[in-house]
């Protein structure tokens, strides 16, 4: 892992004595070595690794807390069955507990989806973007191939588009086309306000992605191109 702030040497050159906490505890005689700042390749690798770790976090939520809570909901049902005849009050409290477990699970799903959408992990960009389209106000049509891209590119593309869709009103009619251009993931959005292009660039620039805008200042076409590993 690259601990960026400690090693950052871009900007004004620093004197050797000011290197920071690492040099203070060093044994006398052992030279202090300053790590080189991460190069463009390191940064890219770091950002790709971060997307992979988001994917792992989502799976951990699914296999850990979610599974445990679902199992609890079932065990409560068993308990109720065994004592149902004896205690009608308990019946209501168990119903209530099960409803609350369901609510907690819905919240966990919401969090998991913000880390890395399950559909994106399991089924790819097409189904995940259709899901995002269903949840937003606008009318959204998605055309996407079945093939998969790397998780970093899919993640960046998904969040760039989902963020934009979330900002649209019910009158928008958006056509999304996902494609492949010489190994790069290409997502074209037609019928969107081009002012959102800057926000999309924030999401994809970290992976050396680019954004192209066609259509002047109003509603137009935004194309995101993200190189894949």
């Amino acid at each position: 892992m690259i601990a960026e702030p400690a090693h950052r040497t871009d900007g004004a050159p620093q004197a050797g004595a000011e290197v920071g906490p690492r040099s203070e505890g060093a044994r006398p005689g052992s030279p202090t070595v300053r790590l080189l700042p991460p190069g463009p390749d390191d940064r890219l690798r770091f950002r790709r690794a971060r997307w992979q770790s988001r994917q792992r976090l989502e799976r951990q939520l699914h296999d850990g807390a979610s599974l445990r809570i679902s199992a609890l909901a079932l065990k409560l049902g068993v308990v109720r069955h065994h004592i149902a005849s004896a205690a009608p009050d308990l019946d209501g409290s168990i119903d209530d507990l099960q409803d609350q477990l369901h609510a907690v699970l819905q919240e966990l799903r919401e969090i998991a989806g913000r880390i890395y959408p399950t559909l994106l992990d399991e089924a790819g960009l097409g189904p995940a973007l259709r899901g995002a389209g269903d949840r937003c106000e606008a009318t959204v049509r998605v055309q996407a191939p079945d093939r998969r891209f790397d998780p970093a590119a899919e993640g960046a593309a998904y969040f760039a588009v989902a963020d934009l869709l979330g900002a649209l009103g019910p009158d928008s009619d958006v056509a999304i086309v996902v494609g492949d251009d010489g190994g790069a993931l290409v997502v074209t959005l037609e019928g969107v306000p081009v002012e959102y292009a800057g926000r999309m660039l924030d999401e994809v620039a970290g992976l050396d992605g680019t954004i192209d805008v066609t259509g002047g200042t109003g509603v137009g076409t935004i194309t995101a191109r993200i190189p894949c590993a």
């Binding site: 699914h62 679902s70 049902g77 068993v78 799903r109 089924a123 189904p127 998605v142």
Partner: protein, 221 residues
């Protein structure tokens, strides 16, 4: 009822087994993946197989296993359990079969009554859909359907939700405390307003028509 089960999470598998036992079902066997279930069912017949969607063989072993089961034992009911109620999976499930299939959230089958009702309906050939998902389909239909669905009365919307859960006329009548006759009238009105011409007398086909209507893909087809 004879029930078999495949689920890779040991905790949930145990909980479900206890609940199935409490409900008085015969458990043919429980496995941690789809391939082991296929092996088991080669010698032990069952009425309904309960499948976790996300289990080995990865990534969605439940669906692959279900395809194989449906091909080999066309009469066996299939109940899919998942952490996620997604229309993407619903469509994949309906591709595997449109009779005797169910799709429910894992934590929502946590009572003997609900679990047995779900299993009974599947064994009887019905489609059973998680109410959370049915509700979302009705409240957020795709594209140009939004306006038409919004034109339904509150009561008609309730009936449409219950139809999207796969319920029969009698089932809907029971849930809403009205007569089956009144339900039929609501359904005729709904189909009229939505411009659906499917055969409304047969529950199974009607449910499919409603689901297809709410989910009609205008792209990729």
């Amino acid at each position: 009822m004879r029930v078999a089960l495949a689920e890779d999470g040991a905790l949930f598998r145990e909980g479900l087994l206890m609940l199935l036992q409490a409900a008085g079902h015969d458990i043919v066997g429980a496995t941690a993946d789809g391939d082991a279930l296929l092996d088991l069912l080669a010698t032990e017949p069952c009425d309904v197989a309960i499948l976790d969607i996300r289990m080995p063989p990865e990534p969605d072993g439940g669906l692959i296993t279900a395809e194989r089961l449906r091909a080999k034992y066309p009469d066996m009911g299939l109940l899919f359990l998942s952490h996620y109620a997604e229309s993407h999976y619903l469509m994949r499930i309906l591709d595997i079969g449109t009779e005797a299939v169910g799709y429910r959230l894992k934590e929502k089958v946590g009572s003997v009554d609900v679990l047995s009702d779900t299993l009974d309906r599947i064994r009887d050939g019905e489609i059973v859909i998680e109410p959370v998902l049915a509700k979302r389909l009705v409240e957020r239909p795709r594209g140009e359907k939004k306006g038409l669905v919004a034109s339904l009365s509150e009561r008609e919307t309730d009936v449409l939700k219950l139809m999207a859960e796969g319920r029969s006329n009698n089932g809907i009548a029971g849930q809403l405390f009205v007569t089956p006759k009144a339900v039929e009238k609501h359904i005729a009105n709904i189909f009229g307003k939505l411009g659906l011409h499917a055969d409304t007398s047969e529950n199974h086909r009607r449910v499919l028509a409603v689901l297809e209507y709410l989910r009609a893909q205008r792209d990729d087809d």
